[in-house]
């Protein structure tokens, strides 16, 4: 069977369906009476079953089938939804997920699911005979009145078309016994049909028909806006046609019998045509294609090279002062700027992709820990670069586990504190400037300062003297140092010694940062700041003595030139007055140990940068200008260099370092 080319589609769609089942199940848990949700779940499960049977994954389709039976019983009000049932269904979804993951890793998707199947059966049987009956309901192929069996893709297309108010017809065309040019007649019939609407499916397949591999009759499934009589009369105009029957095709009656191998093969064999047709139909609603992320990465890499050359061209044209060259380069710069934003946009995906697995996880955790938790997700549509999305999942899982395990108290304790027994956990994402913020806030016990200090001192993270002088926020930051776990008992959920320090380093490696704020007994907020994209940033190039550095524009407030006399002293530090605020001066040549080669001038060029509320004025020797640069890492060997977040290659081929102004401001 040629299923490989569909495997990716199958995996993607299976994951989507499982996700939607998960989501809907969580809804159902909250509104157990709402049977429309059950229908929703049933539909997803049914599609999944059909797809996996077509692809030949028996275990997957069997388990889905069992789950479907239970859902069917629920839908027919034979069984009422309770927690026990939901747990079992959740378990089976877990198993299904594991199978799909196995398949995506090249496995066979086989898995021992006896236990879950047993549980599902128990529920089903407990409901009486109804569910069992539904197993046998699978329609039998009737030899005398052949019906077109359809796969799930086709079914979806049919459902879609009937929603659009089109008619689905099953057409039986009988050629005359003495017909000589069967293929030609078939071709003519199809031409008529295709003018009238979309041929969704034919039996035998189009190839077989063209090769005259049929007796005298064939069946076609047509989606059209025309009336049945019109179609019938049009087809009859073709010569050598014996008879034409047009009947309305009922989707709801159709349930695919997945246990019949012959039919399965047929479905698989016919998929190329069926799917092609279906795609044509789908494009009306949604013009998207799936692209392998590797291709996007390759595109991005090539574009990065282009950006470096662009910088070089700009420099050359500036040097040459050739008007036409300059105009052309400027034009190219504009175009590549547009191209850049398109490429970057293509790589943006909503954080929903990461967020949508959390409701399920929180449910499980709150059960395991006997805590009541209400999770709310805000801003799931916020978009982030694909590479960031891939990395951010694990840290977030960790923070959420942490909040549930260490943050939110048990119901008893909460009530004793006068809070509602149900803890609140909020996951919030939003854009701000060139950054995306993700906040995880809980209304739990907050961080106990003394507990943290005690632990930090006993673990030799800080000395007692140091701890005494630390501000609250500095103490809170300690929990993200290596080897920290404040839970009194080490639980399964979090606190295995590795933890928040890993979260911190992962986020920092993405060019972001994480901070924590907490109020005792009111809760804590972990706030993560992430760059929108990792690869191309706007910088201000400056010269410090003879060395060139790049300062990210996102942290610059403005540039200024200050006279030497304007410099004031406060606490032994040089400061300037910047729009009514006292801003400390920072001589980059001292900070970066740049060898002194230039004479000191009477004016200082300063770049005013900020980190949160704090500001600093970086003293440089000259401004070179603003540029888009490709961010490159310094390499593993030098990673962690002080105040340097990376490097970039300038137009002249030299490397310039990118300053991390966050590290310069305490």
């Amino acid at each position: 069977m040629e299923t490989n080319q569909y495997l990716e589609v199958f995996i993607d769609e299976s994951k989507e369906h499982l996700q939607s089942i998960n989501d809907q199940l969580l809804h159902l848990e909250k509104n157990p009476q709402d049977l429309s949700i059950v229908n929703e779940i049933f539909r997803s499960a049914h599609t999944l079953k059909g797809m996996s049977a077509t692809m030949g994954y028996q275990d997957l389709s069997n388990l889905t089938h069992k789950m479907e039976n239970v859902l069917d019983a629920v839908r027919n009000e034979k069984v009422t939804v309770d927690e026990g049932i939901l747990d079992v269904v959740f378990d089976s979804v877990d198993d299904l997920e594991a199978m799909v993951i196995d398949i995506s890793k090249g496995g066979s998707g086989e898995r021992n699911v006896e236990r879950v199947v047993e549980l599902l059966k128990n529920i089903e049987n407990g409901s009486g005979g109804s569910a069992v009956a539904s197993v046998a309901v699978a329609p039998q192929q009737d030899e005398t009145i052949p019906t077109l069996s359809i796969d799930e893709y086709t079914k979806a297309a049919l459902e879609q078309s009937s929603e659009l108010g089109k008619n689905n017809y099953q057409i039986e065309v009988a050629l005359r016994e003495d017909c000589l040019l069967k293929a030609a007649r078939v071709y003519m019939v199809f031409e008529i049909l295709e003018q009238a609407g979309d041929v969704i499916k034919s039996s035998p397949s189009v190839e077989a028909l063209e090769n005259e591999e049929f007796e005298t009759t064939f069946h076609v499934l047509l989606v059209t806006e025309d009336a049945a009589e019109d179609i019938e009369s049009k087809i009859k105009k073709v010569s050598e046609i014996e008879n034409v029957y047009v009947t309305v095709y009922q989707i709801s009656e159709e349930t695919k019998d997945e246990s019949k191998p012959s039919q399965k093969e047929m479905a698989a064999q016919e998929k190329p045509t069926a799917q092609k047709e279906e795609k044509d139909g789908k494009q009306v609603g949604n013009k998207t294609i799936r692209i392998n992320i590797d291709r996007l990465d390759a595109l991005m890499n090539l574009f990065e090279e282009l950006v470096i050359d662009r910088g070089r061209l700009e420099q050359i044209s500036d040097d040459l002062k050739h008007i036409e060259l300059r105009e052309t380069v400027e034009r190219m710069t504009r175009i590549s700027g547009d191209l850049q934003s398109i490429i970057l946009n293509m790589r943006m995906v909503p954080v929903e992709q990461v967020f949508n697995r959390f409701p399920r996880m929180v449910r499980q955790l709150s059960k395991d820990l006997n805590k009541k938790i209400d999770l709310s997700v805000v801003g799931a549509e916020t978009e982030l670069d694909r590479t960031v999305i891939d990395e951010i999942g694990d840290p977030l899982v960790h923070l959420i586990r942490n909040a549930i395990d260490h943050g939110i108290e048990g119901p008893g304790e909460r009530e004793a504190k006068g809070k509602s027994a149900t803890g609140k956990l909020e996951l919030k994402a939003y854009h701000s400037g060139n950054h995306v913020f993700i906040e995880i806030s809980d209304d739990g016990g907050g961080i106990a300062r003394d507990k943290v200090v005690r632990k930090a001192v006993s673990n030799h993270v800080v000395t007692e003297e140091q701890a005494a002088t630390m501000t609250d926020s500095q103490v809170y930051d300690l929990i993200m140092e290596s080897g920290f776990s404040t839970a009194d008992t080490i639980s399964d959920v979090s606190g295995r010694g590795v933890g928040l320090d890993v979260v911190k380093s992962t986020i920092e490696s993405l060019g972001g940062n994480i901070s924590v704020d907490s109020v005792p007994d009111e809760g804590s907020v972990f706030s993560i700041q992430l760059p929108l994209t990792l690869s191309i940033i706007s910088v201000m190039l400056v010269e410090v003595q003879k060395e060139k550095y790049a300062v990210p524009l996102s942290s610059i407030i403005e540039t200024a030139i200050v006279k030497k006399e304007e410099i004031m002293h406060a606490h032994n530090k040089k400061v300037i007055d910047f729009r009514g605020k006292v801003v400390p001066l920072l001589f980059l040549k001292d900070v970066l140990d740049v060898p002194e080669e230039l004479e000191e001038e009477d004016y200082y060029s300063v770049v005013i940068v900020r980190k949160g509320e704090k500001m600093a004025a970086l003293v440089v020797n000259s401004f070179i200008g603003q540029q888009e640069v490709v961010l490159k890492s310094l390499g593993d060997y030098l990673s962690g260099a002080f105040a340097i977040s990376g490097a970039t290659i300038l137009g002249d081929g030299q490397v310039a370092l990118i300053l991390d102004s966050n590290a310069l401001i305490k």
């Binding site: 090279e305 470096i308 390499g635 060997y637 290659i649 310039a656 370092l657």
Partner: protein
């Protein structure tokens, strides 16, 4: 292996008239000197980073790493780029001019004193035709722990 003795293919380079070797499969390329951008806050043997065909690559001066006095670059000065543990680093050497097959059996553990280089950086020595080759222990030479100077936050 059909040969009796296993051979180890190595690149030979000079520092201070002594001959050192690194296995050829660890070497990415051998480059002439090119502009290097200093990275602040690193030890003096870390010369900085350079643009190696679009990849930003750190460079260290092996003379300084071994505590041998500095000399000015000459026409023969080369940068050998090596890769271990997915880490690309360029090594500045006085000259690099040979590829050799060393008998693995001829490699001996380092003697107590070999030239001027600390024993820790040496994996072994091999004598061949009256020449003494020193096999570098790249893992030690490129140990990450002592790259950065201690730094304090400013402001």
């Amino acid at each position: 292996m059909t040969e009796e003795n296993k051979k180890l293919k190595v690149i030979v380079f000079q520092i201070n008239d002594e001959e050192y070797t690194v296995p050829v499969d660890l070497v990415g390329s051998i480059e002439r000197m090119m502009p290097i951008t200093r990275v602040p806050g690193t030890k003096s043997f870390v010369k900085g980073v350079l643009n190696l065909r679009g990849v930003v690559t750190p460079v260290i001066d092996l003379r300084e790493r071994f505590g041998i006095e500095e000399v000015n670059d000459t026409d023969a000065t080369r940068i050998i780029t090596v890769k271990i543990h997915d880490m690309n680093v360029g090594l500045i050497v006085d000259a690099a001019n040979d590829v050799l097959d060393l008998d693995e059996e001829s490699i001996e553990p380092p003697p107590e004193v070999v030239g001027t280089v600390e024993v820790a950086y040496i994996q072994g020595v091999s004598k061949m035709d009256q020449r003494l080759f020193i096999l570098l222990n790249l893992e030690k030479v490129l140990a990450k722990d002592d790259v950065h100077e201690l730094n304090e936050l400013y402001v």
